[in-house]
Every structure is written in structure tokens, then in C-alpha cells.
């Protein structure tokens, strides 16, 4: 039996904003930009939530509900720095730490009792330490697996600690609403509700076969989770420094248009990898090798990090056009993405068009994962 902690920073973006500007303390703060714009709320303080505000809602609606709130664009680089500091703090204490998102971590406490004492007492000490060292409030859930721990974290926020002892998982989950299970969102909730499922206990007590028929493989997974079972293996990946892909042509190529087709193909590959690993890149560079083996690289640092094919492609093509000055055959072309950081939603991504693009790219990523890189291509205008 393992002891898995889930730790979630409370209103993370807002907490960081309050470190930068303490006058925001106690006020309804909304990170997301222009309250009259077309974006959505990236994060909001607990004071703002009292007005019915929540992450993801259109910012104009938020403004209607809470016109006296403080609306700010946010300091996304700073969020990344605090996220890193948080990770380092945990890694100093635990051998296995998994970062699930910019403000969410799992760590394996198994065997640490002899050093740190009982998990629920240690959790309080850790919470105090994080508050003292980083001025960040957080909540924690502790159980025998990741799924229950995550739900437990959400059970009591902010500055909450919820410990679910081994064997009590099902009992803990039973009365909770079905939407407390991560993954039961806008689409799945009405499907389950229409079939009379109200609480997690309702799912747990249903026949696993019925859920499998209703939802396929996901149904079985949902039934397991409702019964307090879940994954207790933390996936710890080495921090990536860069992602790159290059291709050497069978025969040297002359002509911009032809080479740009290859850039397009390489973009698909690196962007897919980037999104799969939940990264965004800030630096894009290209490598160009002429037939005489002379090689040059050109790089550009973006204002906002990205995982979007279009941005990567457009930037790469721009760099290529600047670099390709000789009328000599090209032997190799490559794209390199650097300065990677964990993907965290940024305000500019929430413009309507960006939301659609993001959904589309999410779908593209899934299709490629399932059917291969060539299963779907994003179109490019010949004129580009």
C-alpha cells in the first residue's frame, strides 16, 4: 500500500500576484486581462468566487457579476518561476515528485513516515513551510492512490488537508457529487445525470458491466475510480531542455517552396511532441545545411511561449527565408524548440479564435496519437 500526496496551490496565479502587489490582498482579483475584451478568466481569488466567478468563464460575464473586481493581465513568467521553486522544494524532500500542471504536484510519501512522521501531521508542517518560504497557500489530499488524493485535495480548499486512510476510500467518495471526479465535465455529466447517477456512490454501486457498455473502456475506469481504486505510480520524466527534428534530403533541394513543405512537416512533428508532453516553447530555431555542408542556424525568441503549429511554422518559415540567401542546393533542414516551460494557460490564448485553435489542435494531437502522424494534416495556403 502506498501513500500518495496530491498538492494543489490555492488560486495560484492570484497568490503570486499578491506577492508582487500586496494591496490585492483581500480583494476580488481576476487574472485574465481586459474585462471588456473577449478573453476568459484564467484564475480568480476566493473573494471573486463569492460573486459566482470561476476559471474559464468569459471575462465580460465576470465583469457583469463583479464590476468592482481588480482585473489584471497577469505575470505568466513569474508563475513559472514560482512553480519551479515549488517543485524544487518538494524534490528536496521526496525522491519521487510528479508535476501534473503548473500548480499541481503528486509525491510519493511511502516509506517517509519514519523520517517525517504521520502523513496528516506532516502535511500541516509542509503547508506552513510552503507558506513561509514561498508565501503561497496550498491544499493537500492524501490517500493510497492519485485519483482519490486529487479528489481529496478539492474536498477542502483553501489551505485544506484531507487524509483518506487506506480502506476508507470508497466511504469517503460515496456522498460526493459525480462531477468531483476529474474528467466528469460538461459532456459526461449530463449523460450520467440522465441515467440517475448523482453521487460517486451511485457509480460505485452500479454494475461495472453497465458502465462499460455505456462509456466503453472509460466506463470501467470510472467505476474503478468511484470505488476508490486508482493509479499509484508517479510518472517522473526528466526535464526536457529542447525538442528538435531534422531531415536530410535524398537529393539536395533548390527552391524555397519545396523546402517550406518540409518545414511544414517538421513543424507537425515537433508541435505534436510538444503538446503531448504538455510543454510550450519560447525559442524557435532552424538549422539549414547547404550542399557544400556549410551550416547555419537562426533563432527567434517569442514574446509568449507556444505549442501552436501555426506560430511555430510561421516563425520557422520567416527564419528560413532570412537565412536562405544562396542559390545552392539544401541538404538538410531542421527545427529546434528551446526554452521549454510547462504549459500554463495564458490570457492571450483565451481569445475566441485562440480557443477554437486550441481545441482543434487538441483534437489533432489525439488523432495523431491514435492513428499516426500522417493521419491528419493542418492545411497551409500555397501562397504562404
Amino acid at each position: 500500500m502506498k501513500t500518495i500526496f496530491h498538492l494543489d496551490m490555492d488560486a495560484f496565479f492570484v497568490s503570486v500576484e499578491r506577492i508582487l502587489d500586496p494591496s490585492l490582498e483581500g480583494k476580488p482579483v481576476i487574472v485574465g486581462g481586459d474585462p471588456h475584451g473577449r478573453g476568459v478568466v484564467a484564475a480568480c481569488s476566493y473573494e471573486a468566487r463569492k460573486y459566482g466567478l470561476h476559471s474559464g468563464m468569459p471575462i465580460r460575464n465576470a465583469f457583469r457579476l463583479c464590476p468592482n473586481g481588480v482585473y489584471i493581465h497577469g505575470h505568466h513568467k513569474e508563475y513559472g518561476r514560482f512553480s519551479k521553486a515549488m517543485k524544487y522544494l518538494l524534490e528536496e524532500k521526496f525522491p519521487i515528485v510528479q508535476q501534473a500542471s503548473v500548480d499541481e504536484f503528486y509525491f510519493d510519501f511511502t516509506g517517509c513516515e519514519s523520517i517525517y512522521g504521520p502523513p496528516e501531521i506532516f502535511a500541516k508542517q509542509l503547508q506552513d513551510e510552503i507558506l513561509q518560504k514561498l508565501s503561497l497557500p496550498c491544499s493537500m489530499g492524501i490517500s493510497s492512490n492519485k485519483s482519490v488524493s486529487k479528489i481529496a485535495t478539492d474536498f477542502k480548499k483553501p489551505m485544506g488537508i484531507t487524509y483518506v486512510p487506506y480502506g476508507k476510500e470508497k466511504e469517503f467518495l460515496e456522498p460526493l457529487a459525480i462531477e468531483k471526479i476529474p474528467g466528469v465535465g460538461k459532456k459526461l455529466f449530463p449523460v450520467l445525470q440522465a441515467r440517475g447517477f448523482r453521487t460517486i456512490g451511485d457509480i460505485a454501486n452500479a454494475s461495472p458491466g453497465y458502465l462499460a457498455v455505456l462509456l466503453g473502456k472509460y466506463g470501467t475506469d470510472l467505476w474503478n475510480r468511484a470505488n476508490g481504486m486508482g493509479n499509484d505510480v508517479l510518472s517522473v520524466e526528466q526535464e526536457r531542455k529542447s525538442i528538435s527534428s531534422e531531415t536530410t534530403f535524398n537529393e539536395d533541394i533548390v527552391g524555397k517552396a519545396e523546402i517550406e513543405k518540409y518545414i511544414f512537416h517538421l513543424t507537425s512533428k515537433v508541435a505534436q511532441q510538444l503538446r503531448n508532453e504538455n510543454w510550450q516553447a519560447s525559442t524557435i530555431s532552424i538549422k539549414l545545411r547547404y550542399s557544400d555542408f556549410s551550416t547555419l542556424t537562426r533563432a527567434k525568441t517569442l514574446l509568449h511561449s507556444t505549442d501552436d503549429d501555426k506560430t511555430i511554422y510561421d516563425t520557422s518559415v520567416q527564419l528560413f527565408r532570412q537565412a536562405y540567401t544562396r542559390r545552392v542546393g539544401v541538404r538538410l533542414i531542421g527545427i529546434h524548440l528551446g526554452k521549454l516551460n510547462h504549459s500554463c494557460e495564458q490570457e492571450f490564448l483565451f481569445e475566441d479564435e485562440e480557443i477554437i485553435r486550441k481545441r482543434m489542435l487538441g483534437a489533432v494531437t489525439k488523432i495523431r496519437d491514435k492513428f499516426g502522424a500522417n493521419a491528419i494534416h493542418i492545411g497551409v495556403s500555397e501562397k504562404d
Binding site: I19, L20, P22, H75, E78, R81, F82, A85, Q132, S135
Partner: protein, 329 residues
């Protein structure tokens, strides 16, 4: 090893634009800036010594002004005649030495900062010049600041067959007869510094061109770190305006930068990685415009001393409200 003594301060203390953000605007006749400064910080880097040969009377005055603070240390920046013009006389050497001696005798000397320009790259001639300076001031602790990457890069392959560029090349002999392990230039440079009562000065500055990256490295007994800010745009501009006549504001613009709390956490981590390998750590903030250096010095002092609350004057708290959380008052 016991924990090192931490010294946090700024590069200089006499800036008019610190009035109201550090020094009070309503100053009585006997209000002394250095005396006030030493109530809050335990070290300062003297930059005036880079431009002029300071009179012994002035040094005597400094010592008197900080007498209330037992642990206060001065670090003296070596005059530009030695580091930039590289043309100095015996008399000038004596003038520097006598001040160092005076501070040392009063137990007020942190060390001598030997700062070379960005253009000072690793060549045989430059390496010999470093050697000459370190030997000239051999009696005192020295902090050597090189801003060009070449001093800290690994040795290029070609150097294996070439005569050394640095004064102290050594090839580690191998007992089993295998190929000898060649030390990198950086390693040779560090060793050379340590042998000569010197430490490597780490710097944080915009990472432009061949500038060294921020990486505190413990060489010798001390760690000396200078923070110049990360105002990349103004820094680039200043490189273009090098040697042109500029106003104080123009000269200062490249240091106009306030490190964010997140950046300071990254800096804390980098420092802590080498902290326990030295006896003394000097943290010097040179991002002086408006008092930014003062604010960041208080913040780093807090981070590096187990987050104990810090004594901060009202003026600074008013100018930098984010410091309220770490303030003792």
C-alpha cells in the same frame, strides 16, 4: 563545515535617487548616509575607488562611521588604471595598498574587487596581467570579475597541443599510463585564483553575446556575487554608447532593474548550491537606480538568512510595498 557568514549590501551608498526610497528626505545636519546605511546592511562595495584614488582621511572617516556595526566590511573596487587602462605606477599601487592596509588593520576589509571589462578575453597577455595584479595585492583577499565567457569555457580541443594561455597549466598525470586528463581552462583559472588568495566573482547581468552566464562558483574561501540587473535593452544601448560622454542618468539606465520575487527565488537556489563550501558570502546589488538595489538587497537578505524578518526603513517599505511581508516592523 560551519555555515558561512552572509554579507549583503549594495555597490555604493551615495545615490541621490535613494532619498525617499531609503534615506529620509528630512535630513538633519549630522545625518550621515554611510552611518544610516550600516544600520541595515553589513557590507558595501566602494566604487568611487575605481575612478579616483581615495584619500586615507576619507577611509578613516568610513571606519569611524560604521563603528556601531561590529561585522561591517568594505570591499574596494580596484582603480581602472589597473584593470581597464592597464597602466599603473608604483605610487598608485602604494596608494591603493595603504587604504587596504588601513581597512584590514581595523578588521573592516572584505576584499579587493578586481573587475575587468567585457572585452577582456582570455589571451596569454591578459592572463599574465591577471597574474601580475593578483601578485601585486597578494596580502589581501581578492574577488576577480571577468565578464568574457572565454575565461570560464571548457578548453577547446586545440589547446591540448598548444602552449598554455593561462599561467598555471597542469596536466594531471595518469598512473595507469592512459591518456592524461587535461584540465579545462576554467579549472586552471579557478585553481590559479585559489592559490593566490582570490575568489571568482559571479555576476548576474543580461546574457548578451559573449557575456558570462550567472553561475556562482565557489573558488577559495569566499563567494562574491554582483547583481547588475537584467535590463537587456538599456544594456545593449550602453554597449553602443561605450566611451561616449553620457549623463549620470544615461550611465545608470542599464542598471535600472528590479528583480522579481520569482527571479530572486531562482537566485537563492543557485547561491545555496555552493553556499556551504565557503566561509564568507558577499552579495552586492548594483541595480541602484531609484533604490531598486536596496529593495532587492533586503529581499535577498531575507531569503538567505532562513527567512528571518528584516529591519527595513519606512521609506523603503513605502516605495516597495511588497517588502512589507518580510519586514520586522
Amino acid at each position: 563545515m560551519t555555515k558561512p557568514k552572509i554579507y549583503v549590501g549594495t555597490a555604493g551608498w551615495s545615490y541621490k535617487d535613494w532619498i525617499d526610497s531609503f534615506y529620509t528626505g528630512k535630513q538633519t545636519k549630522d545625518f550621515d548616509w554611510l552611518e544610516f546605511y550600516s544600520q541595515y546592511f553589513n557590507t558595501v562595495e566602494v566604487n568611487a575607488s575605481y575612478y579616483t584614488y581615495i584619500s586615507p582621511k576619507t577611509v578613516e572617516g568610513w571606519i569611524k562611521k560604521v563603528e556601531e556595526r561590529n561585522d561591517f566590511l568594505f570591499s574596494i573596487k580596484l582603480h581602472q588604471d589597473f584593470t581597464h587602462k592597464r597602466n599603473f605606477t608604483k605610487e598608485q599601487t602604494e596608494a591603493v595598498k595603504s587604504n587596504l592596509k588601513m581597512l584590514d588593520n581595523a578588521n573592516r576589509l572584505g576584499g579587493l574587487l578586481v573587475q575587468f571589462p567585457y572585452s577582456f578575453s582570455l589571451t596569454k597577455e591578459n592572463a599574465n596581467h591577471v597574474k601580475l595584479l593578483l601578485e601585486t595585492f597578494n596580502d589581501y583577499e581578492k574577488f576577480v570579475e571577468v565578464r568574457h565567457k572565454s575565461w570560464l569555457s571548457p578548453a577547446p580541443k586545440a589547446s591540448v597541443n598548444e602552449p598554455t594561455h593561462t599561467p598555471s597549466l597542469s596536466i594531471k598525470g595518469s598512473a595507469d599510463g592512459s591518456a592524461p586528463e587535461i584540465e579545462t581552462m576554467a579549472e586552471r583559472f579557478y585553481k590559479f585564483l585559489a592559490k593566490n588568495k582570490s575568489s571568482l566573482c559571479a555576476i548576474d547581468q543580461p546574457e548578451i553575446g559573449e557575456a558570462v552566464e550567472f553561475k556562482p562558483i565557489a573558488v577559495g574561501d569566499n563567494l562574491y556575487i554582483r547583481f547588475h540587473g537584467r535590463n537587456e535593452k538599456a544594456w545593449r544601448q550602453s554597449l553602443n554608447n561605450f566611451s561616449k560622454n553620457q549623463t549620470y542618468e544615461q550611465q545608470s539606465e542599464r542598471y535600472d532593474y528590479l528583480y522579481s520575487p520569482g527571479e530572486l527565488l531562482e537566485i537563492e537556489r543557485a547561491i545555496k548550491e555552493v553556499l556551504n563550501t565557503v566561509k564568507k558570502v558577499f552579495i552586492i546589488l548594483n541595480n541602484h537606480p531609484h533604490g531598486n538595489a536596496i529593495a532587492n538587497a533586503f529581499e535577498l537578505l531575507h531569503l538567505l538568512t532562513e527567512r528571518i524578518k528584516v529591519n527595513i526603513p519606512f521609506t523603503t517599505l513605502k516605495s516597495y510595498p511588497r517588502l512589507t511581508k518580510i519586514s520586522l516592523n
